[in-house]
Amino acid sequence: MESPKVLVIVPALNEEAAIGGVVRSIRETFPRFPVFVIDDYSQDATPAVAEQAGAFVIRLPVHLGLGGCVQTGYKLAYELGYDYVIRVDGDGQHEIQDIRLILDALIATDAEVVIGSRFVQSTGEHTSIPRSLGINFFRLLLWPILGKKIHDPTSGFVGVNRRALQVFSRTFPLQYPEIEILVVLQRKRFRFHEVACRMHPRRTGKSTITLITSFRYMVHVLLGVFVNVLRFDGTKGQVAETTEKR
């Protein structure tokens, strides 16, 4: 049996200090998986460092936001015929070896999306109190919508299969995708699965999360969730290959 085509994408914005280590780590651990760094118009040497470390680099000519950046990777992967895509953050917080856990879960469960969760077995939590409060709030909010509990709705360590790629390459939240895509998944009657993954503290740079961005995040995500709930139409999210390219 032919082995599945797997691509690793790393969305990055001004991560010159961490991106090289992340890319090298992926290349050493999974030498057969191509690594694409999607650079969201960084103002530092992120693209050059990533390329030097062995990644292919897609440079967005303007800043699109995390969702637009991730979707670029999904579009590329879908067009190049990849079966699975694993998204890893560029700040070095995700344990690269856990990519295997996500991939195995994607194959074994046939779920459209597998989320690497910090909280399934409480492994390697490095989360601030405000962020923990936010995560708990969204857990409670999403529970009745998804019909099942989700441990880590804000995780950026995510694997998707080709069915999800087909949908996400056409429609994807542009700003803060993690929580909204869960509602999109539910709307499309797709399944998601969580696996316990390790998380490291941020080693370099600093988080862009401030009080104002947190407030904006909450409002934006709540609106996104609400809009997606309004869009529930009961249709399954699989569309013909011929109709989905724009």
Binding site: I38, F56, V57, I58, R59, L60, P61, V62, L64, G68, Q71, T72, K75, L76, E79, L174, R246
Partner: protein, 119 residues
């Protein structure tokens, strides 16, 4: 200055400004229609102010408030349309930006392969 003259002046200024912008190609024809419509509506409100005032009295409304409500509705309609257009343009820009980035990557890949062959 009466409310009628204010509406008439606003209507005429809107129509003239829109036509000027159209002539100078500062605004595209498809986006000028709403502005022209607003100008015409404001002018009609001014020209038929008496009729509108009588109608407002009949339903127990103050004519001034009635005029203000219509003006607010027109502004809201325009702002809503502009939001709609901006959102569509934003979506199209995202698609174009992503396509450009992917194509640029593919061109660089082809270029580097071509370079390798020459070497």
């Amino acid at each position: 200055m009466s409310i009628e003259s204010l509406f008439l002046a606003a209507g005429v200024v809107t129509i003239v400004a829109t036509l000027r912008s159209l002539r100078r190609e500062h605004i595209r024809a498809e986006y000028s229609i709403s502005w022209l419509a607003v100008g015409v509506i404001l002018s009609l409100l001014a020209l038929f102010a008496d009729t509108i005032s009588r109608a407002a009295h009949k339903v127990g409304l103050d004519p001034g408030i009635c005029f203000a409500a219509v003006a607010a509705l027109l502004v809201s309609g325009l702002v809503f349309e502009i939001s709609h257009v901006v959102s569509r343009l934003r979506d199209e820009n995202v698609i174009l930006t992503q396509r450009l980035a992917i194509l640029e990557h593919q061109v660089r890949k082809v270029d580097s392969r071509h370079g390798e062959k020459i070497d």
